[in-house]
Symmetry: C2
Subunit: 232 residues, 2 copies
């Protein structure tokens, strides 16, 4: 996914230009693992457009295998815009605001993934499969992909799942948090932010999260600047 | 709609930053008419996001009534990216290319318009109603809006229709050209580019276009630098 970042601080309504960057939870993980010397494949769908060309080339340049990235001639590459959270800061006594984010992922190439596409060849030989809740949010067919891949079937790869609850991606779909909990329970390694667990599930602290997520062999609760708590 | 234009020439895959501008065939017409001293209302839907804030404020600043622009809390403001057509130009003997365009309008706030929204109040008292084929391309419900508004009902305003055939907006829907011809036949004043008519309908020249579009009182065929041909 392509991310557009403001060229200067300010509200999204006021920023006159944006710089292109690479975003996407899964491709970030892929690039970091490739940099650490692992063999990594990024499986996704992007548009048959300039942004798709750029993403595939940039991620491949990190040493990631992009040979199973599908190109969609009818749907654009997913993009989003974000500010750095400067909104409503300043000398007028208002509370510092949160970042503004606008997603353009409904109808994107990635949103057209189905359990049959990517096919089994894309995952052949994988020892670890890393998934995130963002994919589940993109469309019903993408949710089917996640349901299929987090099913506890014999011989499947070790499934790593980052909950990545983004309220903006689940707008109008109140079942989002429950769906993410179901998916997390099917994984072997789960990553979740303490703040995400509070927002999505009203669960507070590593022990409460673990009680709701007993199945994964490893649960990693991310606690921002405090570090992480790992529960085995 | 917000348009993002490259900060420097080049392929979309290579351009590192983009400048925000206002786009949209209908809002352009509205701003120009307001500048000419007419009372103009722009009726649309934008997201409850910073881009929607910007669009409404910028178009209102041109003197256009934006009081009937709906804000959608669940869908983003439509945006698109375009280059200026520099692709494949240069010293290597290739043909000059066309502009690259990537639309983010599927699932946009505007795509959620229906014949009941905007309601009748938005059009009350209008003498002229200007529509374009772009709206028809956004979604099935937007096409329903256009079908409803181009129906020859008693007492309707004079309907002006700019065909605005954009092949990228009709991808995967082969009925696009035929749909646009139907809509144009319901209008009183039709604008169409000679190139659009050739691409959409395989009709060449003002007389051939007029033969296929006998109903509108006025047909304006746009011929680029050659000017226009007006058929009454």
């Amino acid at each position: 996914m392509v991310t557009f970042l403001p060229s200067r601080p300010g509200r999204l309504a006021d920023v006159p230009s944006f710089d292109r960057a690479i975003g996407g939870a899964e491709s970030n993980v892929a690039c970091v693992l490739a940099a650490a010397g692992h063999r990594v494949r990024w499986v996704s769908r992007v548009g048959a457009d300039g942004f798709g060309d750029h993403l595939v080339a940039a991620i491949a340049a990190h040493g990631v295998d992009t040979g199973h990235v599908a190109r969609d001639p009818h749907r654009p590459t997913g993009v989003y815009f974000r500010t750095a959270g400067e909104r409503a800061t300043g000398a007028d006594g208002e509370e510092p605001g949160t970042a503004e984010v606008v997603y353009y992922r409904a109808g994107s190439a990635a949103s057209a993934m189905t359990p049959r596409s990517p096919g089994p060849a894309a995952l052949a030989g994988a020892r670890v499969l890393h998934l995130t809740g963002i994919t589940a949010a993109l469309s019903d067919s993408c949710l089917d992909v996640l349901r299929t891949l987090t099913r506890r079937t014999p011989g499947r790869p070790l499934v790593s799942f980052d909950v990545n609850y983004r309220v903006g991606l689940w707008q109008g779909r109140p079942q989002g948090p429950e769906t993410l909990l179901d998916l997390a329970r099917g994984a072997d390694v789960v990553f979740v932010g303490e703040d995400e667990a509070a927002a999505a599930w009203d669960l507070h602290g590593p022990e409460a999260i673990r009680a709701a997520l007993p199945e994964p062999g490893v649960l990693v609760v991310k606690q921002g600047s405090e570090g992480v708590t790992v529960l085995h």
